[in-house]
Symmetry: C2
Subunit: 416 residues, 2 copies
């Protein structure tokens, strides 16, 4: 796998655009479009929140036959909890694109992100669609990536290529998300593991394009796995959004040998997807509202992978741990307390905690280290906290940021 430029328009046959249509007060781009020359195998994973935006519900319906060709997305308004008319508006967005691109309505997927509960200004969107379509280009990836941002400070896009047989295959992706981030996305009809169901998050969107020829079941399997290891393993504030989704379009224009499950090519495709997603997930955390630090909570030697995940997320979600990170205060007792709260097998006498490479807890008590040394570890911008449960062989990581006074400031004045 090799990193390449171009984001979602790096794969052959994809064009994109992003414009300002009138939703954002800042007058920044707030409408994005991605379109493929040819029909695509398509798949999506969606928020498992029981309150779901109409775009989530509609995409699940549109994806039932596994085909799509375009994605329209707006920022500045989540079109969620907007009643029956919210659904009509999402359909109208799709229809407006379908009409001009001469597609069937259900070949167009829809996404919205922003404030919940406010009616979508659908006329502004519909009026802007002709201009949006007209501007579609092979170089429009950055505009599209800008069109879906809310509190993000930077666009987030990545792309890569790799060989399938002798054919080059490309994958591109763009994403947004800086707050209300604790995705827990699953394929339509699936629910995440029970233990994770109590956790929560905020809106992230990710759109993926590829020119690979790939079987529908292989595409879905690769997508869910890659999402689990990346987006589903991060939390900014523990609040799950109503609009989280990752959509993939595969137009087959690379003309490679069809990728099917349980092959070397499938593993390579999955690896590429996971690498791209992890990169975007990390970009989200680095761009997180108010964040000053990037933090990995690595859990080792858990009894099960599920246990490792819930312990990692329990620590990553702790307000007190996150405040300590913000204040560069190596208060590992809060890490121990948060680990002990997880619904997992935790034995305090077997628990070991490392701040960076420094072992600080063993045999139920501290390992004395110089305060200056630990302070130095916690003053870094990239911090790894390792929680060794010592009761099994499974591991998992969660990625998060600190909780800063700025996060509170941003989110206490979000709408005003």
């Amino acid at each position: 796998m090799k990193w390449i430029h171009g984001g979602i328009t790096a794969p052959v046959g994809f064009k994109a655009n992003g414009i300002f249509c009138g939703i954002k007060k800042s007058k920044k781009r707030d409408l994005a479009l991605i379109a493929s020359e040819k029909p695509c195998q398509a798949a999506g994973v969606f928020t498992t929140n029981k309150v779901q935006a109409s775009c989530v519900v509609i995409n699940k319906e549109h994806l039932k036959d596994g085909w799509a060709q375009a994605i329209i997305a707006n920022s500045g308004n989540a079109n969620c909890m907007t009643g029956e008319s919210g659904f009509e508006n999402s359909y109208t967005m799709a229809a407006a694109v379908a009409r001009i691109l001469k597609l069937r309505k259900k070949q167009v997927l829809v996404a919205s992100t922003g404030v919940i509960g406010k009616p979508l200004p659908i006329k502004k969107i519909v009026n802007a669609v002709p201009e949006l379509v007209k501007g579609l280009s092979r170089k429009g990836g950055e505009f599209a990536a800008a069109g879906i941002l809310t509190t993000d400070r930077t666009i987030k896009q990545v792309s890569a290529e790799f060989l399938v047989g002798k054919r080059k295959v490309r994958v591109g992706a763009m994403a947004k998300g800086a707050g209300m981030i604790r995705p827990q996305m699953a394929l339509a009809g699936l629910r995440p593991a029970k233990k994770m169901a109590g956790l929560r998050h905020a809106t992230m969107l990710c759109f993926v394009t590829t020119d690979a020829v790939i079987a529908p079941s292989a595409l879905r399997a690769a997508l869910q796995k890659a999402a689990d290891k990346s987006f589903n393993a991060i939390t900014i504030d523990g609040d799950m959004s109503t609009n989280d989704m990752v959509l993939v379009l595969a137009n087959g224009m690379a003309q490679n040998k069809r990728i099917v499950e349980k092959t070397k090519e499938f593993r390579e495709f999955g690896h590429a997807l996971e690498t791209l997603f992890s990169q975007l997930a990390k970009q989200m955390i680095k761009d997180a509202e108010g964040a000053t630090k990037f933090v990995e909570i690595a859990v080792k030697n858990a009894q099960s992978r599920e246990d490792a995940k819930v312990v990692a997320m329990s620590v990553a979600r702790s307000s007190l741990v996150k405040c300590a990170l913000f204040g560069s205060d190596p208060n590992w007792g809060r890490v121990a307390a948060a680990a002990g709260t997880a619904d997992a097998h935790v034995d305090p006498w077997k628990l070991q905690i490392y701040l960076g490479k420094e072992l600080v807890l063993r045999n139920g008590g501290r390992v004395k280290k110089k305060a200056a040394l630990l302070n130095r570890v916690f003053a870094q911008k990239n911090i790894r906290i390792t929680v060794d449960l010592g009761v099994g062989k499974c591991s998992a990581s969660a990625f998060t940021c600190d909780l800063s006074t700025n996060y509170v400031r941003i989110n206490s004045a979000y709408r005003t």
Copy 2:
């Protein structure tokens, strides 16, 4: 039931004291003692964190026979994750009191609160015990209540009396807790309901005295029920402590007819306990680190009481909801998103949300209200948010506060 003065020394036969022994840098009182003239029926509920302080483990052991006569508690150090020597130190605290009061060691219960992972300065405590015991008095309740505070700004104590037959019975209680608050306490050997197990909290202590004559099983049942409806229904930051506990001593000196379960007297005793606990729980929230608002999340018409509880706690724990409360921004979409995340039956089309008395969400969409009206509701110091799930008949409330820049400030510099 009638409120009376005196706190934990209001019931007949109890004395208390609180002094500075040298743990707190602020030189405020950091050691407290409560003692009864006569042996007491005793019971306790404890944190369900898997990482538990030695005082929690030791009290469970000491309470096995259901008798105790004194409680010693220190603040400024949690004596948690302090290895084998931490356990020895907790025993030593109990033994120091037992020696002077001529009790058996296991008649003395122990509590600690403060920083995790730092060795307890046991010599300072042992050296101070003679002075602590010497100062025991009928008026020492306030000193004891001060001796257990950490980041609290005010002491928290209440007391009440009521009739059992023709005998007056008194109950007094004192508590501490302002951060790391999301108690989920259960009697030794019991675990909280599965669905709640994923949630988390910080140290709260509550010591209760009564002169009632009460059967051990009745005392335990009343304690668990009252704790569930009060302390177990609050959250400040969602972080569960390793040291949470409520201890009750009943010395029987009111000479009332023995209270047993399933009687009018039992219900009255339970009611008194619950009223006192609720009062203290609310005092904790009002005194919460950085808090500017007192918030009730009332969930109605849930399919089960468990569902009502998890939805209430999911909303009460949401960082985004709490930031909105801090900023007086009536962003009810965050309430809907947090409700939808709970592991409970939530139907977005049946969901109704009220801010104060104002209905803002119905039939999956907003009920348009004047912004000024909703802003006024959210600007209040006491706010009730009602989440009507519309799918059953059960209800429950959770109590919380807002998340302020000050909370982050306090907790990012806790040890420095």
